[in-house]
């Protein structure tokens, strides 16, 4: 347990980085985890060259989902949309640095889902057309 709720996870949960509205966002995607009600809206400001200039997220939910989003946003700036699209679950779980049980994996990966949705230029989950990044 002490392995899961490590200090930096709790710190990201209580003091999320890049949290809040991004008024001039060019990309915005909202997603939820219906099981527990976690919500994340990922917002990107992408320049003409397709590089992420700024990122913010708004969310509510459990410590794992919100810390995961906070940690993920820390590495987004300066990346191209193509680079965001190729991020995978192992990368995100590796950055989290904790062992996630199967029951909580959707919490940990919701931010990646939201980030990828925004990187693909979507605004919301369009049926089953977009493959689940998990």
């Amino acid at each position: 347990m002490d392995d899961l709720y490590r200090d930096y996870i709790l710190d990201h949960y209580k003091n999320p980085r890049n949290a809040g509205e991004l008024p001039d966002a060019t990309h915005r995607y909202h997603d939820t985890n219906p099981l527990c009600g976690d919500e994340i809206t990922m917002m990107l400001k992408v320049d003409d060259a397709g590089v992420v200039d700024d990122v913010r997220f708004i969310g509510r939910g459990c410590a794992i989902s919100q810390a995961s989003a906070s940690i993920l946003t820390e590495e987004v700036k300066g990346k191209t949309l193509d680079e965001l699209r190729s991020l995978d679950r192992d990368h995100v779980l590796g950055n989290l640095g904790i062992t996630i049980s199967p029951a909580r994996i959707k919490c940990a990966l919701l931010s990646l889902k939201a980030l990828k949705g925004s990187a693909w230029g979507l605004t919301a989950w369009p049926g089953e057309e977009v493959p689940d990044p998990a």
């Binding site: 709720y5 709790l10 527990c36 009600g37 509510r60 459990c62 410590a63 909580r104």
Partner: protein
């Protein structure tokens, strides 16, 4: 089957009961005793139920209602014997009115299809409450959409009790069907079902009771309630998943079309025409889950031997122990009533600043199993102004020591998130 149980004068002999549940002897989370407090989701199973089912497979097994040989006759007798036990348990006037199905959800869907599609018309009103489990909400929501009927959702007060004034007001506007929960799985509130049913019947409505959270925990008597349909699940009452029943009045069931078509539910089949079997088999197409039904019969034996009133009293004793201690915790919100009146052993709460999923994960590390989420109660969660809660739910085998484990796990969660 016979169940040998202690007949202590008043309180349950919980130690003796626990010895009947093999799973309660195991450890979790690296050696901690299992503290199972998720009984509103499903219950554990006593060896008497496991053995009754095992015996069917080992000694009797053959398809029911068909074979003209000894094994089939034995299995049929066990299956129909289980029906008689279930009928007696809810005081149904006739065994044929008890239709076996997979769970309360399937039972309610049976009524929604076989009765609802022919009887709910455009402009009709269906009354439900905001306390409903999705199983007694979504079938009526969808029926209303198909039929052009109106779904009316009765609100609760801040204590989680049904708004009687609103119920009566809506009833006066007319209702074809009142589909209401006996006992809330999210809050543990027991509705005044007998009075609600009487009022609804007087207003000309058909009444369905979702008793999935009631039949396992309190005495339920369909004749006393006066309702038309009542559904419940076996797996929440010591029986296996896949067992359950919906009870209905003969005069309604006789007039209903079948739910599923196929084998066992027919009387005669010609190329262009079929006629239907008698009750209850008209509604039991295909080979029934007869071993699960036998398990349900054994569970009913077990619960009856312990006594439903005593089980209810035991659960209230646990709530009476844990509730005041919970209410002392800073930053806790306990949803629903804060008294023991009209409730069962369900306690839903939130800790400030800690999402229920984090709470449940930390509880898990202490061996404490609770449910975190919306409990298939999304309209209720919206009404309470939250997305999820942590829910502890008790049963006959739980103890005050387990309540202490729950309180200890809360302290741990608060420490981690301090």
């Amino acid at each position: 089957m016979t169940t040998v149980l202690p007949r202590a004068a008043a309180a349950l002999d919980v130690g003796r009961i626990r010895a009947d549940f093999p799973i309660l002897g195991r450890t979790v989370a690296g050696g901690k005793p299992l503290v199972y407090l998720d009984n509103a989701a499903t219950s554990q199973k006593p060896r008497q139920v496991l053995e009754a089912m095992d015996r069917v497979y080992r000694e009797h097994n053959a398809n029911i209602h068909r074979g003209v040989y000894e094994l089939s006759e034995e299995t049929t007798a066990l299956f129909e014997g289980a029906r008689a036990k279930v009928a007696a348990f809810i005081n149904a006037p006739h065994s044929r009115e008890v239709i076996f199905c997979r769970n309360a959800t399937e039972g309610i869907n049976l009524v929604a299809y076989a009765w609802g599609r022919d009887n709910v018309k455009r402009g009709d009103r269906i009354l439900v409450s905001v306390l409903e489990h999705h199983s007694n909400f979504v079938p009526w929501q969808q029926l209303a959409k198909e039929a052009g009927a109106e779904l009316v959702v009765i609100d609760i007060d801040d204590e989680g009790r049904l708004r009687r004034d609103e119920f009566e007001r809506e009833l006066r506007k007319g209702a074809r069907l009142v589909a209401i929960t006996h006992t809330s799985n999210g809050l543990g509130t027991v509705n005044p079902v007998r009075e609600l049913t009487a009022q609804a019947k007087a207003a000309g409505a058909v009444v369905l009771i979702d008793a999935a959270q009631a039949v396992p925990h309190t005495p339920v008597d369909v004749q006393e309630l006066g309702c038309d349909f009542l559904a419940f699940s076996g797996h929440k009452m010591l029986a296996p998943p896949g067992s359950g029943a919906v009870w209905g009045r003969t005069e309604l069931l006789e007039r209903m079309r079948p739910f599923l078509y196929g084998g066992d539910m027919i009387s005669r089949v010609a190329v262009d025409l079929s006629t239907w079997n008698e009750l209850p088999w008209k509604f039991e197409a295909g080979t029934s889950a007869y071993v699960d039904a036998v398990g349900l019969g054994a569970a009913v034996d077990y619960l009856s031997a312990v006594g439903m009133e005593r089980i209810h009293a035991h659960e209230l004793e646990l709530v009476g122990y844990v509730l005041p201690r919970l209410l002392e915790i800073p930053g806790i919100t306990v949803y629903g009533s804060h008294t023991l009146e009209d409730r069962v052993g369900v306690v839903s709460f939130n800790l400030e600043g800690i999402h229920p999923h984090d709470v449940a994960t930390i509880f898990d590390s202490e061996g404490v199993c609770v449910r975190a989420g919306h409990h298939c109660n999304q309209p209720l969660m919206t009404r309470l102004g939250c997305v999820a809660t942590t829910r502890a739910s008790f049963y006959l085998y739980n103890t005050t020591a387990e309540c202490d484990a729950l309180l200890g796990a809360i302290a741990k969660a608060r420490k981690i998130f301090a």
